[in-house]
Amino acid sequence: MNGHWIETTIAILGLAIITVVSRAFFMIPERELPLPDWLKRGLKYAPLAALTAVIAPEILMTQGELLDTFKDARLPAVLLASAYYFWKRGILGTIVVGMVVYLPLHIGWGW
C-alpha cells in the first residue's frame, strides 16, 4: 500500500460515494420507483458472493498458493468460530472465539 496513496485516496472517496448512493438509492429520484424483483433476488446472492470471494483466499491460501498443511492457525480458528456462530448466532462471539484460538497458535506455536 506504500507508494500508491493517491490511488488509495481515490478508492476511499469512491467508497464514500458508494456509501451515500447505496443507502440513499431509492430516496434520490423525485418520483417513486418500484422495487425490481431482480434486485430482491440478487440481494440474496451478491453480498454473500462478494464476502466469500474476499475471505476464502484469506483463509485458505498463503503466498498465492493453496495451504499444503493443516498446521495453520487460521483453520482451527475458522472452524471453531463457525461452530460458535451456529451454536449461539452471535457475530461478536464468533470473532472472539476465532481470535482466542488463533492468537496462541499463531504467536505461541508459530502456526
Binding site: L15, V54, R89, I91, Y102
Partner: protein, 277 residues
C-alpha cells in the same frame, strides 16, 4: 448558517432525539466492538494511520470497509474494489426504499444526508418506533438521535483501534479479526441449500482463479455464485411471476419455521440485520 445552527439545536433538544439514543444504547456495544475490529484490521493490512483515519471518517461502512481492505493492500483496480463494496452494500439499497416512505418530502440534500448516516441498527430501531410508513414531525429528531449515537459508537472505537493497532507488531496477525468478522456476517446470510451452494461455488472460484491478474478472481467468483444461486432457484421452484416480499431477520436469531417455508417457496427473500454500519 445560523438557521442550520438553530435547526441543529432544536433537533438535539427534542425529546425524541434522546429517546432514540436510549433505544440505541443496547446495540451500541456491538457496534463499538465492530468499530474496534475494523480500525485494527485497516492498520494491520498495512494502511497508514492517516489513510485509515480518513477511510473510517469518510466511508463509514463496516463490512464494505473490511471487504475491500485485502483488495487495497494488493493494489487491485478501482472498479474491482468499488464493485465488491457495492455488492456488500446492496442491502442498503433495499432499506432506502423503506426510508423513502418517511423522508421522500424532504429536500434532496437532506435525503442524501439521511442516507449516508443510516445503518442497519438505525433502520431496525426506527421501524420499531414508527411501524406505519408515513411522515411524522418527530421522525427527524428521532432519526438524528439514532444516527448521532451510531456515529459516535462506531467512530470512537474505530479511531481507537487504528491508533492502538499501530503499537502492536504486524506479526501478531490481529488483522485476522477482520476476516472473522466478515465470516460471521457471511454465515448469517446462509439460509438454505441455494445460499450454501452459492457460497461453496464462490469460494472455489475465488481460490481457483486466484492467479488471474487485477484481482479478477473476485469478479469471477461473484458472477459464478450469483449465476448458480439463480439457477438453483429456477430449478427448485417453477416461479410464475412471483413477486417476493422482503423479510428482515433480526441479528442473533434463527428464522422461524413458517418463514423458512415461505422462503423455500420463493415468496420471501430474507434480509439479515447486521449490527454495524
Amino acid at each position: 448558517m445560523s438557521t442550520l445552527a438553530q435547526k441543529v439545536s432544536r433537533t438535539v433538544r427534542d425529546p425524541h432525539f434522546r429517546l432514540a439514543a436510549v433505544d440505541m444504547a443496547g446495540t451500541s456495544l456491538g457496534i463499538a466492538a465492530w468499530g474496534l475490529v475494523t480500525g485494527v484490521a485497516m492498520v494491520k493490512s498495512g494502511m497508514s494511520v492517516s489513510l485509515a483515519l480518513f477511510m473510517s471518517l469518510v466511508v463509514y461502512a463496516g463490512s464494505a470497509q473490511l471487504a475491500v481492505i485485502p483488495l487495497l493492500t494488493v493494489g487491485a483496480p478501482l472498479w474491482v474494489i468499488w464493485l465488491t463494496a457495492s455488492c456488500v452494500n446492496l442491502r442498503f439499497v433495499i432499506f432506502s426504499s423503506m426510508w423513502r416512505s418517511y423522508f421522500a418530502h424532504r429536500p434532496l440534500r437532506e435525503r442524501l444526508a439521511i442516507g449516508y448516516f443510516s445503518g442497519d441498527v438505525i433502520y431496525v430501531a426506527f421501524m420499531k418506533r414508527f411501524p406505519e410508513p408515513r411522515p411524522q414531525p418527530e421522525q427527524m429528531p428521532y432519526f438524528w438521535g439514532a444516527a448521532t449515537t451510531n456515529w459516535i459508537a462506531w467512530q470512537v472505537p474505530s479511531i481507537a483501534g487504528i491508533l492502538l493497532a499501530n503499537a502492536v507488531p504486524l506479526s501478531w496477525g490481529l488483522g485476522f479479526a477482520g476476516v472473522l468478522a466478515l465470516l460471521g456476517v457471511l454465515l448469517s446470510l446462509l439460509f438454505d441449500r441455494a445460499t450454501w451452494l452459492a457460497t461453496g461455488v464462490a469460494a472455489t472460484a475465488a481460490v481457483a482463479a486466484f492467479a488471474l491478474p487485477l484481482k479478477l478472481n473476485i469478479l469471477v467468483a461473484i458472477a459464478a455464485a450469483v449465476a448458480v444461486g439463480l439457477m438453483i432457484e429456477a430449478v427448485d421452484r417453477r416461479r410464475k411471476n412471483r413477486h417476493p416480499e422482503m423479510l428482515l431477520v433480526p441479528a442473533n436469531s434463527v428464522m422461524p419455521p413458517e418463514e423458512r417455508q415461505h422462503m423455500k417457496d420463493g415468496d420471501v427473500v430474507p434480509l439479515r440485520e447486521e449490527r454495524h454500519p
